[in-house]
């Protein structure tokens, strides 16, 4: 049976999360020559519909991106015991479901360090899409990293909006970036979907640095994006597709250790990342991998030691 993937409401070309998933699926298709089925959500009520229809059509495994599927999957999965499901960003405890969650706080910690190290002003910024727990998790990790690299660092945390438009408002993203710059920030991390495009653009226009998210966004403005916090959704999807019907159920936490998150280094940002920075960040990464350093996960207790939400 062909595998299938369902993208969340942002759409598969969101330049970050869903697009990473799409890239993973494409990579699998290219490598194996196989074909897969794909769907994009357009409304909340369709989640269940999409899941059921795909499962009924024989697709196996069915991969979905985004925590919002969790609830529905819980009710659908038992109805299709022979179908394997994989869900990204959420834990669903069912015998035929593989749950893939990322330790975004760890990746964000690393880019937070890098931001603080690259900053000349000692002020770094974070722009989230909407004030929801997942985004706070990003922001909290980032703030911890920045404070670790420079205890005196100031971290400005902003959210774009409260309506779904918040994920797709590059203009507001740009304006927020400019506002943060005027408050002294010279490195800004965007975790805001399509809004982030505007953040990166404004940072490039204003001559400050930005940090991309989910996919490697360094190429968007070569020499002006400090790095990107990689969340290997592509790998997760690729792996799930590759495992095929033999998909192993259970919870999969992908952190630094599992190479599930990380930071991007390529020819586009090589001139920006000094050896000292790289050394410091890599050292922290090692400590995290070894468990010597524990980055606080906002979602574990809804608090953040390094930032106020």
């Amino acid at each position: 049976a062909d595998p299938a993937i369902i993208f969340d409401l942002g759409g598969k070309f969101d330049k970050s999360f869903n697009e990473a998933a799409f890239n993973g699926a494409e990579k699998w298709a290219k490598e194996t020559g196989g074909s897969y089925k794909e769907l994009e959500m357009q409304s909340e009520a369709q989640r269940e519909q999409a899941l059921r229809r795909l499962a009924e059509s024989g697709a196996n495994p069915v991969v979905m991106t985004g925590f919002a599927f969790g609830d529905v999957l819980n009710t659908v999965a038992p109805d299709f015991p022979d179908t394997k499901f994989a869900i990204i960003d959420m834990v669903v405890e069912q015998p035929n479901v593989k749950s893939v969650v990322f330790s975004e706080h760890e990746g964000s910690y690393l880019v937070g360090m890098m931001a603080a190290l690259a900053s000349k002003t000692g002020t770094v910024g974070f722009i989230g899409g909407m004030d929801i727990p997942l985004i706070r998790k990003f922001g909290c990790g980032y703030a911890q990293g920045a404070k670790a690299a420079n205890p005196n660092a100031t971290v400005i945390l902003n959210m774009t909006g409260t309506t779904p438009a918040a994920w797709n408002d590059p203009v507001k993203g740009a304006e927020l970036a400019k506002a943060q710059k005027s408050q002294g920030a010279d490195v800004i991390y965007a975790a805001a979907g399509g809004t982030g495009i505007g953040v990166l653009q404004a940072a490039a226009d204003e001559g400050i640095l930005s940090i991309g998210v989910d996919s490697n966004q360094n190429h968007l403005h070569p020499g002006k994006v400090l790095t990107s916090m990689l969340k290997r959704v592509d790998v997760a999807v690729y792996e799930a597709f590759k495992e095929g019907t033999d998909l192993k159920p259970g919870i999969n936490v992908l952190g630094l250790k599992e190479d599930g998150v990380g930071y991007a280094l390529d020819e586009n940002n090589a001139p920006l990342v000094t050896d000292e920075m790289k050394a410091a960040v890599d050292a922290a990464a090692e400590k995290i991998k070894s468990g010597e350093l524990v980055v606080h996960d906002y979602m574990s207790d809804d608090t953040c030691p390094a930032a106020n939400f």
Partner: protein, 364 residues
Amino acid sequence: MGRMPKWADAVLVPLLSLIIAFVISGLVILAIGEDPVEALKIMVTGALGSTYGWGYTLYYATNFILTGLAVAIAFHAGLFNIGGEGQATLGGLGVAIACLMLPWPHWSLALLASVVLSAAFGAAWAAAPAWLQAKRGSHIVITTIMFNFIAAALLNYLLVNVMRPRGQMDPASARFPAETNLPDLHQMLGWFGIPFAKGTPANVSLFVALIACVAVWAIIWRTRLGYEIRSFGKSEKAAIYAGISPVRITMYAMLISGALSGLMAVNTVQGEANRLLLNSVEGAGFIGIAVALMGRSHPVGVFFAALLFGFLYQGGAELALWTKIPRELITVIQALVILFTGALDDMVRAPLKRLFLASGRGGQ
């Protein structure tokens, strides 16, 4: 007689307009390199070809009936309520409170409570713009738009900081107890031995919407309040002459309108999601404007317009599910349907009128 018969105006004109809209939609599909006939087939079978499809079509239609009625009744009072989004958002809050507040023994009681609370919350959210319009002359179009944004912010705050169970990732409320889950059409029709697809979201709220249709019809055309609302909507000056208080009518019309918008949440929040999500309204408040306008603000018209939009929503979903056609095609089709049936209808009506007039003369 050389006059266009009523049925032609009520049925023939919209039908022809609809056909034009679909033909142009077909051209758009051709233009993006897909097969329009195939697309139409998928839409029709997907939305109407099975009880499964109907289950979704009716689910969406339920939302649109309620928001359409909300806009319609405000229109009758000469008020343009663009605030359906916000009122439905607040209605969702009402539903969530109703369902989480008490351990309801049976869904019917829970339904009663959520109907009351969602309507009350929706009405409350409409009350402020209504009062400002009536007393301060603040333009209701602006204030209701503003209240949409404010509602979104309020809900965002409540879901993230107050109602979200600790440790849950979603900005959503806790799941409602199973006792509050509303029976869907599969269950309900099952009681009468009628088979209906399982797992579709259409639920008992559909009947709430139908009752609302009848109630709105009765209010507008059979009660004194409705008479006063219509009078006020046609002429404020004349209404005052007749002793109808503008403040009172503005308030009542908007309260009813807000309550109807709020009721929509029973369908989405309690009937479908079983918890309060950040964006459960999903633009239905705006679709309600189109539905009301297309339905000429008459409950029967609203019902059919809502059904049409339900069909477009579900058919479009199927299209996106099974073809490479982007989901935005549906938005374009909706736009064309609204345009041709709602704004360009005279393009069809005028020649038709002439035709009838000519045939009437010829026949004499």
